[in-house]
């Protein structure tokens, strides 16, 4: 980029000189025309993506409570899932044995839920389900599914949330820490869940 401002500016506007060969006709100021409000009307109107398959896992009861507040909203192909109460999950628990259920209480399994999933979000308020988080995230990794974590502060102590963050950091490509449950629907809407 030359530094002789005026000279370069004049030369460029006059001849587009010094920019190498132009192998196709280019309309001068095409960017100015294309970026105008007038031209925005001519953008092609069509659905540029198909519906995503989203799976939301609440890993502890307070996270489930926050999640239940939004499950009735009109989501697309989104499943909201919790771990069965009193279930014991260790890191060696086979993925298909993780006890999952839908909000209406019907049971399901990880293999079914992750088939064709595009987006997985793990919700947690405490570090009680690190093994489940690890197993779900590992399955996502194997299946090349983006796995995001949402650590909800709620009434958790700083130490507790710190443990959640440390734990989820190992497994997720994106981790969000918020004290605002309203962020759950905001994020899901933004991700077209």
């Amino acid at each position: 980029m030359p530094h002789d401002h005026d000279e370069m500016f004049e030369a460029d506007n006059a001849t587009r000189a010094g920019r190498g060969p132009v192998d196709h006709p280019t309309m001068l100021s095409s960017c100015a025309h294309a970026a105008s409000a007038e031209e925005a009307k001519y953008r092609v109107q069509y659905p540029n993506s198909i519906v995503r398959t989203s799976r939301i896992f609440a890993l502890d009861p307070p996270a489930a409570e926050a999640m239940y507040a939004v499950t009735e909203d009109p989501w697309e192909n989104t499943h909201f899932l919790t771990l069965l109460a009193d279930s014991t999950i260790a890191s060696e628990t086979p993925a298909q044995d993780i006890p999952l259920c839908h909000p209406d209480g019907t049971a399901t399994n990880l293999n079914t839920e992750l088939t064709d999933a595009d987006v997985v979000v793990l919700l947690a308020t405490r570090n009680s389900s690190e093994a489940a988080a690890e197993i779900i995230a590992c399955e996502c990794f194997k299946r090349k599914i983006m796995c995001a974590g949402l650590a909800l502060r709620r009434a958790s102590s700083p130490q507790s949330i710190s443990q959640v963050v440390s734990s989820m950091r190992k497994f997720t490509r994106v981790l969000v820490v918020t004290e605002d449950d309203d962020y759950i629907p905001a994020m899901l809407t933004a991700l077209r869940a």
Partner: protein, 428 residues
């Protein structure tokens, strides 16, 4: 994806619009101090938040910012005579002081007191650092004067510039918190730009193109951490603070000066991109200052005598396809600032966010929009003052550091992310 009504809520900033009202709760940058360089210098037109204003510096060095047009017949006071403690309309001699109060109507008897009944809408204009700041909201809601570190270090340690960006403020600002684009759009600059090159941290950027992100709410906005692999299982963290509504800082590299931005609406289709560089503990070197003036780093070159970038949409940003092909510049556009601006302007004056397909790594942007929306609604519906107005929210810094895997950046880097007088930035 953002619903149409929320997109409109956040992008419309004229007076009476909720987002415009929110911007009016802050001290915002209005002009470079150099634009009003001496007493009785020529006045300058200013457009902010959809309002046409005139700025001037009177005979006593007081700064004024007020309605651009004379209350008499609507003449632009850009043509005014700045003399003897006021700005005089050249048409019929009406004169205004720095508050916008009319102090002379020559055609009326002086004893009539007529001029006391005339006042142009005016806003305070104060100098902090090398910037003139204004507060366009109600006087009773005026926050403390700004104390951003870049504006309060000695003059020899700081440099600010501004450029006209021809798109809505929000899409420009979102570029400042979109850490994932750096590995692509700005990849050439890390090796060549004199204000970035040579830092050890650059090697981590180059070696790990897929950073992992953590977005953590702060009192004033967000901390957005980008994590890359470093030696021995450690992580290289680059943390960007965003303070509401539109302040961001770029994580530092080596001992290079730190950089950051404000994005301030001119109107709904244009904004000012303010860019600053500063070093907390030393003067900028002549070479660094020259590089900034030459448009390196976060700065840019100009069409002579204007704040319009030399590379602009009327000359297709001087696109260089050969440089793009060679890999000198990922997009073919020269300079980091214009690499961002060219793409953001290409979205159109206000990007249609209903068409977006955001992904999980966009959570910084998603969270910023969410916090803006909540703050705008809280102000509109309940009169709750938004975050980012108070000094403690403004004492922030970006930082870069290598941490062990178990250390959360929010705790381990708490001091690093706080502006501390006389303490060097934390950088790699």
């Amino acid at each position: 994806m953002l619903r149409k009504e929320i997109n409109e809520l956040l992008t419309q900033t004229d007076s009476g619009k909720p987002m415009g009202d929110m911007f009016r709760q802050y001290w915002i940058p209005a002009l470079l101090a150099s634009e009003l360089s001496e007493d009785d210098c020529p006045p300058t037109r200013v457009k902010l938040l959809g309002e046409r204003l005139i700025a001037f510096r009177d005979s006593k060095g007081r700064y004024g910012l007020m309605d651009e047009f004379c209350a008499h017949r609507g003449v632009s006071l850009w043509f005014g005579r700045n003399e003897e403690d006021g700005l005089r309309c050249p048409y019929h001699g009406w004169k205004y002081d720095y508050t916008g109060q009319c102090i002379e109507v020559p055609s009326e008897p002086e004893e009539s007191g007529f001029c006391e009944k005339i006042k142009l809408k005016g806003y305070p204009l104060i100098k902090v650092g090398d910037i003139l700041w204004t507060h366009m909201g109600d006087k009773e809601d005026r926050p403390p004067e700004p104390i951003w570190e870049f504006a309060t270090v000695p003059a020899a340690q700081t440099y600010s510039s501004k450029r006209w960006q021809e798109c809505n403020w929000l899409q420009a600002m979102e570029g400042g918190i979109d850490s994932s684009h750096v590995s692509f759009l700005h990849s050439g600059g890390l090796k060549t730009d004199p204000l970035f090159r040579g830092a050890k941290g650059n090697k981590y950027n180059e070696a790990d193109k897929k950073p992992v992100f953590e977005v953590v709410e702060s009192d004033g906005g967000l901390h957005i951490g980008a994590r890359r692999n470093a030696e021995d299982g450690h992580y290289y963290w680059r943390v960007t603070p965003w303070i509401m509504p539109s302040f961001t800082m770029v994580p530092p590299r080596g001992d290079h000066p730190m950089h950051g931005h404000f994005w301030i609406p001119i109107d709904d289709h244009n904004c000012w991109a303010w860019s600053f560089d500063y070093h907390p503990t030393r003067a900028l070197s002549p070479e660094e200052r020259q590089a900034m003036e030459d448009g390196y780093g976060v700065h840019n070159q100009y069409v002579s005598g204007t704040f319009r970038p030399l590379q602009n949409k009327d000359n297709d940003y001087l696109m260089d396809r050969e440089a793009q092909k060679r890999g000198d510049s990922y997009s073919g556009i020269w300079g980091i600032a214009m690499q961002d601006a060219s793409l953001q302007e290409s979205m159109g004056p206000i990007v249609d966010r209903t068409k977006e397909n955001l992904v999980s790594t966009d959570n910084g942007i998603i969270m910023a929009r969410h916090r803006l929306r909540k703050a705008v609604v809280a102000l509109r519906d309940k009169g709750v003052q938004p975050p980012g107005r108070t000094p403690e929210h403004q004492l922030v810094r970006s930082a870069a550091r290598v941490l062990s895997p178990e250390e959360p950046f929010g705790e381990a880097m708490q001091d690093d992310l706080t502006a501390r007088h006389g303490v060097k930035q934390t950088s790699v």
